[in-house]
């Protein structure tokens, strides 16, 4: 009775209006970038090598973690709320393994981040668990285990190899180079590998991907494994910088990383987004915070503006995808 054939009209070629909608939102993006530049250029000391370095440095630690989160979000309507805790745990592993040397310590930290996050990914991917609920639970579990093992105290480095991460080749902190390199790697993986393409497909429509026989569970797990590794890289740099690690090492990183990914225009609904976008989002937030700092606004204002940026971008992305759908 439901097979009455009604030609699906209206679905054909709405391209003109779609383009008009895209143009409108593109215009908003251009205006926003120009506005940031104008305000920046008119701000004292904004255009200087030292300041540029400062912006990139503050973008880099959040940015590396946000690259990991990008993998998770592209893979579909998911977000990890356990980033700070994963970073704290991996940071502790990194410092306490320093006696083995820098590289083994780094490997151990990455394994820690990857396993902890990959396990959550497997549950999300194979058992379709709600990622928000699951990662909140995981964040408590991680903190609990870490507190238990350390007795609640800070972990001090058992060697000095970590200091290599604090190097500043050519006057630029090492983490900036690492951010740029990892952005390139993640972008390449997303665009050019079969894994990347199935991640986009599963992220856009999980049921369709399942029915098409795509390995949704495996792809999701691999994405989360990659994300955990990237969290651990951020952890190593943060721990090396602080020369100590306790359960609060991650600070507000969870929400900073989410903000960076969203500010880059990657929608929370999955199936879209890229590493380059996330890099742009991290730099945008860092630049605006920097401008506010230079102009003497309080920390409260800086944090508030961060929220406004995220909100504006999300609304913009939504309007744009709505224009596409209609």
């Amino acid at each position: 009775m439901n097979t009455l054939t009604v030609p699906a009209s209206g679905a054909t070629a709405p391209s003109r209006s779609r383009r008009r909608g895209d143009l409108a939102t593109d215009a908003v993006v251009v205006v926003a970038v120009v506005a940031v530049l104008v305000v920046g250029l008119s701000t004292d000391r904004f255009v200087s090598y030292a300041n540029l370095k400062a912006i990139l440095t503050s973008a880099s630690l959040v940015g590396i973690a946000a690259l990991g989160l990008t993998l998770i979000m592209v893979g579909g309507a998911a977000v990890s709320l356990a980033i700070s805790q994963t970073v704290a745990a991996s940071g502790m592993v990194f410092l306490s393994a320093q006696s083995l040397g820098l590289v083994p310590a780094l490997v151990l930290a990455v394994v820690c981040g990857a396993v902890v996050t990959g396990l959550q990914g497997a549950v999300v991917g194979f058992a379709a668990a709600n990622p928000v609920v699951l990662t909140i639970a995981a964040s408590f579990a991680i903190t609990g285990v870490a507190t238990g093992l350390t007795g609640g105290t800070s972990v001090s480095p058992s060697g000095t190899g970590y200091d290599v991460l604090n190097a500043t080749p050519g006057g630029v902190p090492l983490c900036v180079f690492v951010l740029l390199a990892l952005t390139a790697v993640v972008e390449w993986v997303l665009r050019r590998t079969g894994f990347g393409r199935s991640l986009y497909l599963g992220g856009e429509n999980r049921r369709a991907a399942r029915a098409a026989g795509l390995p949704v569970g495996r792809t999701t797990t691999v994405a989360w494994l990659g994300a955990g590794s990237l969290f651990a890289v951020t952890a190593a740099f943060t721990a090396a910088f602080n020369t100590a690690a306790n359960v609060n090492l991650g600070g507000t990183l969870t929400f900073d990383a989410i903000a960076a990914v969203l500010a880059g225009g990657t929608p929370i609904s999955g199936g879209r987004g890229s590493a380059v976008r996330t890099l742009a989002g991290a730099v945008l937030i860092a630049a605006v915070s920097d401008i506010l700092l230079l102009r003497g606004y309080s920390t409260g204002v800086q944090i508030m503006v961060k929220g406004v940026i995220v909100l504006l971008v999300v609304v913009l992305v939504h309007l744009r995808s709505k224009g596409r759908a209609s």
Partner: protein
């Protein structure tokens, strides 16, 4: 069917439908439908798919505006421009799909959409009214506070009918209320429908189950090609005379001239069951042949395909592809074994609408396009070009979102992505031309035939006679989860229709003069 007709007809015409006309684009869905329903009468609306029943129901329930004609209730012409307006005029609809909420209590479900409950629910008065409503459909044993989830499907359907009655209905429309119910559950529904009719309500009963139509209803209106063919008293009709009226001069036989060379057995299914949906389904598919499972909503035809595609975790039975056992319940396993599936729900379980056409065409064959996990651009674009050719879509559109295509072209992409793959042995399609226009339909039929010619075994489900007779070499009819019969060679359309609407021979039904023997040996014929 153990129901006996105890008519509550009053002879007083309560509802009158006069010359209703409705077109969608160039398709004339309804061209002049007229009939009347008396107070207390159970009136059946019958017709094959596409006859216009759904559209008439939609116009009566305020979901579609008629292009012409009028509807009068109680002698007054009514304007039903929305579902709310229809409700105010006294029209209540119980839809095919259940729209009750399992997590709420029975009383809360009755409250949903009930205008009289208001913002502050005046609990006591409402409860008394709800109790009376439940009693009126025969749910005297069900407490108001029971969670709906503790009721069976049939009882839930009754709650939905009770809710519809709570809207002070003068006309109650039941659109295939028993399609997904068991016999026992259906009996509940019949009993309550009779009770409701006895209160003087006019009832329009839409059903594909012709046996139940004849046993339950007072009169039957038959539609064909958008027009009313006849309205007649059910007493004077038989299942066969009803089918004759529904079909008119329909295509009458499977066309054998086309039957291609058939190869080895590719897929063999033994004892496939899905609890409550499919009972002991067996079939063997040979390469180069097109097979169909024919059945209405709730017949299990669609469930058979979904189970074979690994999408039904509860499915049991032995499935073998090329003699190798395939574990059921895992889509990745089915896909790896060479089973490709085209869902009947293109939007949510088929295409990736925001993604480019090229991506959609290649989604199912990513591993063949990568070397060490890296996508080969050359192979990617070669494959896209090839498949666009297969689907006859302009090459320059490869990068457009697939959602920008027409429904027919989207469906071609959906089917096309399963073709020209070395690893696919069996192609399953659930209602492959649903919502596709005539042109797109012919193109998809061509794709399926050429797929069979290329050596695939093709199995599709359909409810449309024309499609079954046109496309399939072998048709398996299903009714209420059981295989009725397997047809190889010449078959009359009326026989197929009889089997999918009425099942096999029913020894308990005195109205059934035929003795066909239930469940003819499907396997012997095929393997």
């Amino acid at each position: 069917m153990t129901v006996a007709s105890t008519s509550a007809r009053t002879g007083h015409e309560l509802v009158r439908v006069d010359g209703l006309v409705k077109s969608f684009g160039s398709t004339r869905a309804v061209r002049g439908a007229s009939f009347g329903i008396e107070a207390g009468e159970i009136h059946a609306l019958c017709g094959h798919n596409g006859a216009g029943k759904s559209t008439v129901v939609k116009m009566l329930s305020g979901q579609e505006d008629p292009d012409g004609g009028e509807i009068s209730i109680g002698g007054e012409v009514v304007d039903l421009r929305s579902r709310q307006a229809a409700q105010r005029a006294g029209v209540a609809l119980v839809d095919q799909e259940l729209s009750v909420v399992p997590s709420l209590s029975v009383a809360e479900n009755l409250m949903l959409g009930d205008a009289r409950t208001g913002w502050l629910n005046r609990a006591r008065r409402s409860r008394r009214r709800f109790r009376a409503l439940l009693d009126s459909v025969g749910l005297t044993h069900v407490a108001l506070d029971r969670p709906l989830s503790s009721l069976g499907i049939g009882e839930r359907q009754l709650v939905e009918i009770a809710r519809a009655l709570g809207q002070d209905a003068r006309l109650l429309i039941l659109d295939e209320p028993t399609a997904t119910l068991s016999d026992v559950e259906s009996e509940y529904v019949y009993a309550s429908v009779r009770k409701v009719a006895a209160t003087g309500c006019a009832i329009l009963f839409v059903s594909h189950r012709l046996g139940e139509v004849l046993a339950l209803c007072d009169r039957v209106t038959v539609m064909r090609d958008g027009a009313v063919v006849a309205t007649a008293a059910a007493d004077g009709l038989t299942v066969d005379s009803l089918i004759e009226q529904m079909l008119g001069e329909a295509p009458s036989r499977l066309d054998r001239t086309r039957a291609g060379r058939s190869g080895d057995v590719v897929l063999s299914v033994t004892g496939l069951s899905v609890p409550g949906r499919v009972h002991d389904f067996s079939i063997s598919l040979r390469a180069g042949q097109v097979y169909a499972v024919a059945g209405q909503l709730g017949s299990g035809a669609s469930d058979v395909l979904r189970a074979l595609a690994g999408l039904v975790p509860a499915a049991t039975g032995v499935v073998e592809v090329d003699g190798r056992r395939v574990r059921t319940g895992r889509p990745t396993v089915a896909s790896a074994a060479g089973i490709a599936f085209v869902s009947n729900d293109r939007k949510t379980e088929g295409l990736f609408l925001d993604k480019p056409i090229g991506w959609n065409l290649l989604a199912t064959r990513l591993p063949t396009l990568t070397r060490l996990g890296v996508v080969s651009r050359a192979r990617w674009s070669r494959s896209v070009a090839e498949l666009l050719g297969v689907c006859a879509i302009e090459p320059h559109r490869a990068r457009d979102a697939v959602g920008s295509l027409s429904g027919g072209n989207q469906q071609k992409v959906f089917v096309g992505r399963c073709l020209h793959r070395d690893d696919v042995r069996v192609l399953l399609l659930d209602d492959p031309t649903r919502g596709v226009d005539v042109g797109g339909r012919a193109a998809i039929h061509d794709l399926l035939r050429s797929a069979a010619t290329d050596g695939l075994a093709v199995l599709f489900s359909s409810t449309e006679l024309e499609e079954l007779l046109d496309l399939a070499d072998v048709v398996v009819t299903m009714h209420k989860g059981d295989v009725v019969r397997t047809h190889v060679g010449d078959t009359a359309g009326s026989v197929l229709l009889r089997e999918i609407t009425h099942g096999g021979h029913d020894p308990h039904d005195p109205r059934d003069p035929h003795d066909r023997g239930v469940g003819a040996p499907a396997k012997e014929l095929l393997s």
